[in-house]
Symmetry: C2
Subunit: 329 residues, 2 copies
Amino acid sequence: MKVKMEEGEKDLKAVWMDDNKVKMIDQRFLPSELKFYTAGDYKDIHKAIKKMMVRGAPAIGVTAAYGMAQAIIQEKKIEKVAEHIKSARPTAYDLFNAVEFMLDHAEKPVKAAEDYASNVIEKCRKIGEHGSELIENEDRILTHCNAGALATVDYGTALAPIRIASERGKDIHVFVDETRPRLQGARLTAWELHNEGIPHSVIVDNASGHYMFRGEIDLVIVGTDRIVSNGDIANKIGTYEKAVVAKENDIPFYVAAPVTTYDSSTETGRDIPIENRDEKEIKMINNSLIAPKDSPARNPAFDVTPAEYISGFITEKGIFSPSELDDMF
Amino acid sequence: MKVKMEEGEKDLKAVWMDDNKVKMIDQRFLPSELKFYTAGDYKDIHKAIKKMMVRGAPAIGVTAAYGMAQAIIQEKKIEKVAEHIKSARPTAYDLFNAVEFMLDHAEKPVKAAEDYASNVIEKCRKIGEHGSELIENEDRILTHCNAGALATVDYGTALAPIRIASERGKDIHVFVDETRPRLQGARLTAWELHNEGIPHSVIVDNASGHYMFRGEIDLVIVGTDRIVSNGDIANKIGTYEKAVVAKENDIPFYVAAPVTTYDSSTETGRDIPIENRDEKEIKMINNSLIAPKDSPARNPAFDVTPAEYISGFITEKGIFSPSELDDMF
């Protein structure tokens, strides 16, 4: 991803390995400050994942792979390291996969970790290639949350088609849902688009329907955490509303994700457990209370969007409709 | 409205007249502090309206009526006072009406202002009476923004049926959309419900679709700024999304408003001009930037909800479907 820095524009990744050290953008300080974190050993890797300096399942996986490589070079007890790194985000599927991959490829650890990272990045680039064909010149595209390079090391999933369409000279405008409660759209997606020089507008989540109704949005692209057997998805809270309103206004609604996101063992979206997070994420903004202290808040982190609202899935293998999923994955 | 204070629960209004002074809750400090403002003359009234110590068209109208009464008692040049008060919010219809009413009833100014206020409150109480019949025991009701007592002096419009259903012993739960960007739901509606002792949960605007999809919301009630000839409405940004998702899930969607909100001279919602407000309302929360400073934001304050999504209008004269509007108003 392009990043504007004092010394000029640079091409950065969310996380990378340099001289046996694992380096990353510390995403907690974006968009106001661009800070970097260097992990010197596996305890730092655990901390970086746990404290959400790095977030997004693919980027966490790559961080874990680099952390494992570093620990192998440092001749740490690798089984113990593996357990410690995995415990940083106990529900992260990609984290486990990355650690297992490194245990299986411990003989050339740096090369293995770089292969793992390249594979993640290459999938995103292909998602971008396929998805960019859906984007016409002058399209106005809505996205929700941050499914960008910060979450996937480079390119992103939902943002990959947008990046590549823009690189190829298409004149586009991106509407960025701010994505309450954690504001990943306003904080991270807008930061990425600003750095890439892609025209965009931040809007409150409440306003996307207004722009859809007025015919000012041509296409919606979001990421996803899980695609289940019948084509339903789970994604950041609010995705369902966007999908329903898009369908009501005949606006195509696409979900961008690598094929590994497909979970054929779960039948429908209603079978996906929804994480409920701390009410402080809603009631406190920048350490300031925005609701009465005695008013309870409910904070589901994800919602389910049924397949009927999804025009297609943009994957590294091409674009598929929900009914084609079982054949293609 | 009930308000919990250190000396016990009190019955307060958003604005009232006491010993020829106009007193009000200074809403800018809610929910963290309950402060009052006393307007000593018409310049203070102008300031209170302009600085949004008081907000909501009906409450602004009553404030203006009391301010005019005070100025008449103080023997100010009344035409000049009228112009000054009207200039505080140049788009506020109720403000103009209140000032004109007082010019027509200047001989008994305090009685006239109290009549004006009583009329506003009585309409809201009747909206509450009619609307409460839509609410069943154990209903879970979604509301958006603040169409409460703070906006209408007492009872509210959307909150009036909720207050009266609760007073009559119905066991209800209110989902309160936080209502970005200005957070009137989290700040004001939650504060009112907390004070009334009505069970509620604050949610981000993104989450209401999730609860509708899961069958956890039985009824939606919102207020409105304007109802036009074909039954379309304009209301706080986000109302349209709630209405579309409610219809998709077969959840009744009601709009509560006095009949004066009906504007038969405007044909459809698409003819209503939408105010675009300062992007700072989105990008700055509690003086802290939540998006890149160079990322533009777009901030439409209202959206249009077409009549097809509206189950009915709850007014002081009863409940009407969109197709009955022309006959009834």
